[in-house]
């Protein structure tokens, strides 16, 4: 219980966005909104500015929600662990996303807007067994981002079950695609930190997120989708261990060392 009070106080004191973070967030949201609404600028190949701007605005709202859920989850769990998470936009990744949208005519969404940088909060880290910032801790904290998006997609799916609306469908798709992209081991994405933190954890979380995205997208009950994703993730994790990780102890490097 005291931990909850501690976290509440930390969130109250430290949960905020710096001006640079806000600037990055706004640009990221607008670009993601544009990528997502790329095919909604008018009927067929025709471009209608009013329709396009309206759809861009709607998509930007969804992008804001998606990105805020992703970053907030990481920020809050980081505070719990005595670290401070800061969002940094990656102009390279956003430019690449825009390029892919134009080249694929909006059929492919490349949604990696940036990444998180963790700062050590010296006083709040006191008493932790691993006092310094370490790879495994960053892996666990980074993983909360894609999980938050999966949870948000589940919430939207539940709401969509009661009140059907195309906007909810789009929100589900956006959150699932965003979660899958963020688990990829490409440097700005959260998956990069998970991969370098622990390969076993990465194998589990990659399969979990991809399976959850597939199961939540197809028309099956939510509890089966969640249970199924967890089961597939455990199988994937075991397969990864037996096929690959187990033999890594006899890796080329280990053999080279033996010589």
């Amino acid at each position: 219980m005291s931990e909850m009070h501690d976290l509440k106080a930390k969130v109250k004191k430290y949960y905020r966005f710096t001006p640079a973070e806000l600037r990055g967030l706004v640009i990221s949201i607008l670009i993601i909104g544009f990528i997502v609404s790329f095919r909604e600028w008018g009927p067929g190949n025709e471009v209608m500015l009013s329709v396009g701007l309206f759809n861009w605005f709607n998509s930007s709202l969804l992008a804001a929600l998606t990105l805020l859920a992703f970053i907030s989850a990481q920020k809050i769990v980081s505070l719990q662990a005595g670290l401070n998470a800061e969002y940094r936009m990656s102009m390279w990744a956003l430019s690449f996303g825009l390029l892919v949208a134009f080249v694929s005519r909006g059929y492919i969404w490349f949604l990696i807007p940036g990444g998180i940088i963790f700062h050590h909060m010296a006083g709040h880290r006191l008493g932790w067994y691993r006092y310094d910032v370490n790879y495994f801790a960053l892996a666990i904290l980074s993983l909360w981002g894609p999980i938050a998006n999966i949870v948000l997609a589940i919430i939207f799916k539940i709401i969509n079950g009661f009140i059907f609306h195309p906007m909810f469908q789009k929100a589900i798709a956006l959150n699932l695609v965003f979660a899958v992209y963020s688990i990829l081991p490409i440097p700005p994405a959260a998956g990069n930190k998970v991969y370098f933190g622990s390969r076993m954890l990465y194998a589990f979380s990659l399969v979990l997120v991809v399976a959850a995205a597939v199961f939540l997208w197809i028309d099956i009950p939510i509890w089966i989708a969640i249970g199924g994703a967890l089961a597939v993730a455990v199988v994937g994790w075991l397969l990864y261990y037996t096929i690959w990780e187990k033999d890594m102890w006899q890796s080329p490097y280990a053999k080279m060392r033996e010589k």
Partner: protein, 108 residues
Amino acid sequence: MAFDFLEYWGEFFFFVVLVIGFLLAIASTSAMLTYLTVIAAGFMAGRLLYERKGKLQFPYVIIIIGFMIGYVLGAYYGNRLITLVLFILSIAFGYQLLKKGVIKDIRF
């Protein structure tokens, strides 16, 4: 004979990016898009070369050449020579911008 990835990764990615470059070029629907894409790719290649400054660079040059060949071969819209020149110029420009600190790279 098995393919030794650790020995020939440069050649492997040469072919991978050659195919990617070709597909990217044929996906382009106009000359303007072809040029914009090649400029963006050039900036990324410039960044890669800047990142490898003072380190092993040759395999990366080979990989960039692979992309260039694939892209120029697949460029249906636009002039191929202009595409090639734009690519080389944007590599140099991107490299210089990073070197002068106009564009800053973030380490994630």
